[in-house]
């Protein structure tokens, strides 16, 4: 498999996802992580921006830390379609030879990433939550070369039951898709500039350029729980859709947002956009209230990176207490309204 000259591949590249000519949060998160990796490797970060009339977005990528932006601007890239986007990104990889290529684990990235990795013949590790530079194998093994400065990609698997750390020692680029909401953006630096490179590999439509007949946007009535600093999250124990009003009032007084567990979505009490967990969203707020949430492993997988977890549950054996910093065994119907009242009094002083 050593057909690639691995030494030729240099630099950390990130796919700067845009939709409707607006950069997705994951683009900035990937730059943030990319800068850390680049520092360990003594290199820099290149953002790859694909779209139509998107050049104006390059400055924003620079402000969030990109050292260089490669822009492929073409009418064929106006709306995401697998083929022209995979063609563009594969050509960028073949032309510029990145050591590392990071893509967001979004509904776009989880289509683009596998297609591109197959096209350029490299490995792809999906839905990573931790990325670091290290040795592979992790420890020296007799009779086997230990490679240094490898990208070690850690991801949950088997429904959140396990974690695995993966390397891609013999192929380049080392590719990963990264879960949105996990990596930290840098503070933007106003007026920062990046080197801009225009590149167009040329596009020749064929049967793989599918036709988009319609685009139907589903209006979002809810806030993005992944951006919230404080989440007041409720589970089956809240008891009803109406009872979520208690949680809303607590969230309002703290400037937070309400989220929920899967059971709540299944009961129709809250929409799926608010669901935290393996099949919902991964969140990492400063403060996470788990109220009436038992703490199934799938839920915990989506919230355990929270800085502070406060759990309120009447069942003292609920597994949520195993991951809570502060656990209160008690009746949420009494505690939550009283806490809201106390906070109102305290904050209005």
């Amino acid at each position: 498999m050593n057909r690639m000259n691995l030494e030729e591949y240099k630099g950390v590249y990130i796919y700067a996802q845009q939709v409707d000519n607006e950069l997705s949060s994951i683009a900035f998160e990937l730059i943030g992580k990319g800068k850390e990796l680049a520092k360990d490797l003594g290199t820099d970060v290149t953002a790859v921006l694909l779209g139509y009339q998107v050049k104006g977005l390059a400055d924003q990528l620079a402000e969030y830390g990109a050292d260089r932006v490669i822009v492929v601007d073409d009418k064929e890239l106006e709306v995401y379609r697998t083929e022209p986007y995979a063609h563009a990104l594969s050509c960028v990889i073949n032309e510029y030879k990145p050591d590392i290529m990071l893509v967001g684990a979004t509904a776009i990235g989880r289509d683009l990433g596998p297609t591109v990795s197959a096209r350029v013949h490299t490995g792809l590790t999906a839905d990573c939550t931790v990325l670091e530079i290290g040795d592979f194998p992790l420890n020296p093994m007799p009779g086997k070369e230990q490679k240094h400065n490898q990208l070690l990609m850690t991801r949950p698997a088997f429904g959140g039951n396990t974690i695995a750390t993966i390397a891609c020692p013999d192929n380049r680029p080392q590719m990963a898709t990264v879960r949105p909401g996990v990596m930290q953006k840098l503070e933007p630096v106003k007026g920062a500039k990046a080197e801009i490179i225009d590149y167009n590999p040329g596009f020749v439509p064929n049967d793989r350029y599918v036709e988009i007949l319609n685009i139907i946007k589903q209006t979002k009535t809810t806030e993005n729980i992944m951006d919230a600093k404080i989440l007041v999250s409720g589970g089956r124990g809240v008891g009803s859709a109406e009872n979520f009003q208690m949680l809303q009032e607590l969230a309002d007084v703290l400037g937070g947002t309400v989220s929920c567990s899967r059971a709540v979505v299944e009961n129709g009490w809250k929409p799926v956009d608010l669901q935290v967990g393996q099949t919902g969203k991964t969140v990492r707020p400063l403060l996470y209230f788990a109220i009436g949430i038992s703490g199934a492993i799938q839920h915990v997988a989506g919230m355990e990176e929270s800085d502070i977890v406060i759990a309120i549950n009447k069942d003292e054996d609920a597994p949520i207490f195993d991951v809570a910093d502060y656990g209160i065994v008690g009746d949420l119907n009494k505690i939550v309204p009283a806490l809201t009242a106390q906070l109102k009094a305290e904050l209005n002083k």
Partner: protein
């Protein structure tokens, strides 16, 4: 019209998870089911069959016991089944898996290939698009609706905040979401047919011949390597208190102040 559905037998992740000493999954030690997204893909194919009389073939790569998943698919109504199994194909990552399945597909006739979006053991969503890439086909991922119109498919392709209605000319590959439909149950007659009337064709590495290169298969042909796999290390438990409501509120207020939240 010919449809091939790629399915995977997966460990039911609701049960425990077990590993071999080399860090790969010990599939033999776990309960096995047909992967849910794949089952939705199979149901979509069977609905097209109900309407148009299409021929539906299911294919899987796996251990010999993956035949059970194929028999289930036959009992649901699939016409033919192919099991690709060989010790030398084991330990494959998504590159090696998709190369192997694509090699098997090269030996079959198809207008439409359907895979599940992702499997519940790996959750990668990679094998479907990678098979399409190896075969040079258009791919439409994340299908929550699928209809046939002449020589094309019309797919409702899901994104976070929207969907696209996409038209692609066949042959093409579609990856199915569980939301696509509610799969039918096996019927008693179907189960009888699956075991007595229908056959599972078994292909080994040798049967795939030059469609599969040795350097693209199994553990050795996998670009990604497992450095470490383990049960998840959980955040440790903090304090747990049993207090009356008033004391509880005072306790939480104390912690929020201590941590400078308020």
């Amino acid at each position: 019209m010919k449809i091939v559905v790629c399915i995977k037998q997966v460990p039911d992740t609701k049960g425990g998870v077990k590993f071999n000493p080399d860090g790969t999954l010990d599939r033999a030690a776990m309960l096995a089911i047909m992967n849910p997204d794949d089952k939705a893909g199979l149901e979509a194919a069977l609905r097209i069959k109900d309407e148009t009389g299409a021929e539906v073939t299911v294919v899987t790569m796996g251990l010999p016991k993956a035949e059970d998943a194929l028999r289930e698919a036959l009992a649901m109504g699939a016409d033919k089944a192919v099991l690709v199994t060989d010790r030398c194909l084991g330990g494959a990552d998504t590159w090696a898996t998709s190369s192997t399945v694509a090699a098997a597909l090269k030996m079959m006739e198809y207008d439409l290939i359907i895979t599940g979006r992702q499997a519940i053991d790996g959750d990668t969503a990679q094998v479907g698009p990678q098979i399409a890439e190896h075969l040079g086909l258009p791919v439409i991922s994340y299908a929550e609706g699928l209809t046939i119109e002449g020589d094309s498919v019309i797919v409702k392709r899901q994104y976070e905040d929207r969907y696209h209605e996409i038209k692609a000319k066949m042959p093409c590959l579609v990856t199915a979401l569980s939301e696509l439909n509610v799969p039918r149950y096996m019927t008693p007659g179907g189960i009888f047919d699956a075991y007595d009337e229908k056959e599972v064709t078994v292909w080994s590495r040798a049967d795939l011949g030059e469609n599969l290169r040795d350097e693209d298969m199994g553990l050795a042909g996998s670009p990604t390597k497992i450095a470490k796999a383990s049960d998840k290390v959980r955040k440790g438990a903090g304090e747990k208190v049993v207090l009356d409501p008033t004391e509880s509120v005072a306790y939480i207020m104390g912690k929020l102040k201590e941590k400078h939240v308020i």
